[in-house]
């Protein structure tokens, strides 16, 4: 129980200044290094790789899908193989699945259990994605959440929430904005925000992007 007074019970938040989960991970890491299973260098490289990923990788995939229908079909069929065509490797596990937003369907991704996220293609998730309010409300009131994010959908669009609870990670392929016919693939990629690939935003329009 907590050592401070308030209205809900929980485990101690810290243990000797270090959160229990962090202490456990540190102990495991030390043990694995000591037993020669991994090296500190492996851990450092792994962390470097993860934090070096960014939404611009996912945006490249989306932009290519917008300009190349056959690539889009391959992306929706097997996202890892399609990403490899652009030199991006999402790795064998977890498996990434791309979901296409259309005139009729809008996807919104959440992980109610924790923070599952296609990190290999989008980098680390935003803090709100891991927050309890987003995780609980995205599943039960997705239209309310979309409204708060400023997303306006046509009345008859079906909202599909995808709760990423296991070994799969979902990446939304948003709809290409109108008025972008003359843009290059790189210019299109610049319109594809991280949030649009989670499903809580629409891609920027060229006018908005150029006013930034």
């Amino acid at each position: 129980m907590s050592d401070h007074e308030h209205d809900h019970p929980h485990s101690p938040v810290t243990f000797g200044g270090e959160p229990p989960a962090a202490a456990r991970v540190r102990a495991l890491e030390e043990l694995l290094v000591e037993k020669g299973v991994i090296t500190n260098e492996d851990v450092r490289r792994g962390i470097d790789w993860l934090v070096s990923r960014s939404p611009s990788d996912g945006a490249r995939l989306v932009a290519r899908a917008w300009v190349d229908a056959e690539f889009k079909a391959r992306l929706l069929e097997n996202a890892r193989a399609a990403a490899l065509e652009l030199g991006l490797d999402s790795g064998p596990s977890p498996v990434v699945v791309a979901l296409e937003n259309t005139e009729d369907v809008h996807h919104l991704v959440v992980c109610t259990l924790c923070s599952c996220y296609p990190r290999a293609l989008l980098g680390p998730p935003p803090d709100w994605y891991k927050s309890l309010p987003y995780r609980s409300r995205a599943v039960s009131d997705p239209r309310g959440v979309l409204d708060e994010f400023g997303v306006e959908l046509d009345e008859d669009v079906e909202v599909r929430v995808v709760d990423s609870t296991a070994d799969m990670r979902y990446l939304v392929v948003p709809r290409r904005p109108a008025g972008t016919e003359s843009l290059s693939e790189d210019e299109l990629a610049a319109l594809v925000s991280r949030d649009s690939m989670i499903g809580v935003a629409l891609p920027e329009t060229p006018a908005v992007a150029s006013s930034r």
Binding site: T112, R143, R160, V161, D163, T165, M168
Partner: protein, 93 residues
């Protein structure tokens, strides 16, 4: 037992002590198999140092939001898709 795309399935309404990936809000709910993913090690045993074998097929199952949340205020066609391991799914009639 395995399931095919389009088949109606029910999420087992059983309690489970310890780590598992089946969201509480789905237990006892009926949905339709949207995709059959690959098989993966079972997190319920793997979380406690076991091998997680045998692997379990993971399914993406679609549920009507109105079935899952009786007070759902969105559109009637809205759905929620959730990955559920085979051993949590039952045939639905």
């Amino acid at each position: 037992m395995s399931f095919v795309v389009g088949e109606r399935v029910r999420v087992s309404d059983r309690a489970h002590r310890g780590h598992h990936r089946t969201p509480a809000y789905l237990k006892g709910k009926t949905g339709v198999v949207e995709r059959a993913h690959d098989s993966f090690t079972n997190p319920e045993t793997r979380a406690y140092g076991d091998s997680g074998l045998p692997k379990q097929t993971c399914y993406l199952v679609a549920f009507e939001q109105c079935d899952v949340w009786p007070s759902y205020s969105g559109r009637p066609r809205d759905r929620i898709y959730v990955d559920v391991f085979r051993h949590w799914l039952e045939e639905a009639t």
